[in-house]
Symmetry: C2
Amino acid sequence: MTLDALINSLKDIETITDPHQVAKLSQDYHTFSPVLVPKLAGKVGDIVVRPAHEQEVIQVAAICAAHRVPVTVRGAGTGNYGQCVPLHGGVILDTTKLQKILWVKPGVARVETGVKLAALDKKAREIGWEMRMEPSTYRTATIGGFVAGGSGGIGSVQYGLLGDRGNLLALRVVTLESEPRVIELRGDDVQKVNHAWGINGIITEVEVPLGPAYPWAEVIVTFDNFITAAQFGKALANADGMIKKLVTIFASPIPQYFHPLHSYIPQGTHPAFLILAETSLESLPGLVQQYGGKITYQKPAEEVGKGLNLAEFTWNHTTLHARNVDNSITYLQSIIPANQDLQLVADLYHYFGDEVMIHLEFIRVNGAVVPAALQLVRYSTEERLNEIIRYHEAKGVLIANPHTYIIEDGGRKVIDPEQLKFKEMVDPYGLMNPGKSKVLEFKAQKRS
Amino acid sequence: MTLDALINSLKDIETITDPHQVAKLSQDYHTFSPVLVPKLAGKVGDIVVRPAHEQEVIQVAAICAAHRVPVTVRGAGTGNYGQCVPLHGGVILDTTKLQKILWVKPGVARVETGVKLAALDKKAREIGWEMRMEPSTYRTATIGGFVAGGSGGIGSVQYGLLGDRGNLLALRVVTLESEPRVIELRGDDVQKVNHAWGINGIITEVEVPLGPAYPWAEVIVTFDNFITAAQFGKALANADGMIKKLVTIFASPIPQYFHPLHSYIPQGTHPAFLILAETSLESLPGLVQQYGGKITYQKPAEEVGKGLNLAEFTWNHTTLHARNVDNSITYLQSIIPANQDLQLVADLYHYFGDEVMIHLEFIRVNGAVVPAALQLVRYSTEERLNEIIRYHEAKGVLIANPHTYIIEDGGRKVIDPEQLKFKEMVDPYGLMNPGKSKVLEFKAQKRS
């Protein structure tokens, strides 16, 4: 099918063919990885298609299926694994025009896939609710992109990860068939599409539970010793009576990359960045004192939205700030096993020194508080990076390797058999985001 | 000081001297314990005084201090340790007229000590909030009584125990001095009075954080195997994405004591009683299926307040229902250590059989889900009861022994040194609830 024929058949649906624009919309933030950059260089779609509602999505799906055109779905492109970089050209299906907030009720909302997380928050807060968890890119990221390519973030210290039972209520997907179907997945069935990198149908609507929108305060606490800071973070994350949505610990010298915050973080100290319900604020000084910390910055809830926003220095925004200062820096994503957590963190801290600067994000995993880490790595070679990864893995750390565009090499290690079964049904021609999965490539080769 | 002189000096403050009334107001629910009943038999106050506001509390305190009259403070008398049974007569200070709700704001409320928990809930729910945790006696229990003599309950699976940092924001207490002072305790200082059984000043006001008032659904799930039921309870309690305020597991034959629920619990099955946010309900069947359970009863949130109320079959209401059928039954209160929990539960279940019927309440302790237990015990002799307790303790179970009226023999084992220091300041004559503490009795004897 020629590009012109495709455009003609799309009729009123918005298309973009300007090569600069198409190249831009074929990108995400895999540029954080010096390993991925060369591997994904030059990978661009042939055309960007921007449906405005589900009916247009169905039209695009039908045409692509009939003509066997690859389809790579994207939200805002804030992922870091090259999730929405098309390996085999074809159509980039940009979902950002699907931005209706369908309804918001106490504790639950349903929205179109392209709704920005911040937009849903704004609407939900009118009635006292908000997203349970969000990546640090919540201002631009879409909810469909978060479901397809994300896993957790700010709020995960309370609610765990997006894939945990109860954190995602329903998904509506369009299949990539000549006569596309629209399928509503509810309950455990949402896992057939959650975190599937857009290979399992085109998400058009998302139903999520909401969390109460506490008045949130932001706090920086500094410590002279990194391990003490980490212990404080763990104790706070475990304090069941204190409501928090962020407990982040940075080893010095990471804060040097946060220019606007220098006056709150004395050089050489190790800060905790916290977001706490204002009702829990009065209980903080007792805990801080117990670990010998100092509260150096406090922003009350009424100033939220004004001035500095601590959340935007955490999770993968940390890496962004560091790379803005020194673009030779890259990162890891990992979960430290709960049974040995802080001793192992101490060992890694001393072993690698400044080569691997530790950035902890406390989260809940199956009911227990564990330190996730997005370590900043001073990159030298791919070999050394792999050596660092292997060292961590040998110690029992789960590395969700952000230096691969293969699903199985990232956090999940395998694709859920349920997802594969669903894949065969909704994408019989293997057109969705092709090339991102080992097992699917293997199957495709066997067929051909 | 004669009773008449006391009454005269109290002027307009309500007093009760009718012996039947005084005897009734000298009681609590220690009658659940066949060991406590004979020990506390005949222990009554000389008079009940019912101040209507703090100024009257101050007057009572001044007179009692000046004349060295013992003072035993009570709320609704729903405790089970004889906390408000006066060992040395004197004044029963009944706080139930202090029932002003001072203010309720999003996430926090301040009330007078005698406010019933259910009354605060009703008010707070008007703006979308409610108590974070409550005993099963919430319809009658007062908040001051809960603070002085309680420790947790329905909601503790989410927020931990009342004593956990952040679950109690401030207390206002009147000292027992000839010129009483009014002291406001905030932050960690609230621990000087929390769970002190009324020996550390008279609480007049309480400030508590609130939790979001989710639309709550009630569910019964039955299992053929008790340990499977317990494993299900643990998995649900650990499911970070599912919002719950009650996860209770009963070993058969406990449900035989719940007459109104018989049709939902097939004989010989082991039920889970759950209170879940309605948004989490859709995620329940997947988990239930995983453990081979059956959902036999479901009450949607809109029917809350109508018909059966599952919460009132849990925590110590379980014991109440059992004793209504068979008053030879008594109980234990315990916490199973987290590291071995369900294996140990299985061992105890098989070892004691029907003599100790296991009733689990999952709660959070320092960030981790652990099974608390309020086992029903078929009572034979005090010796056998002690043997049962010792067996549990030898296995590492913490027994908060409800068969003693001595603070140190209950759940806390020792009185916090901070509480003792505060005691000396606020009750210099040792008049408050005398006889309930080993260390204080010892000190009193040394002085005399």
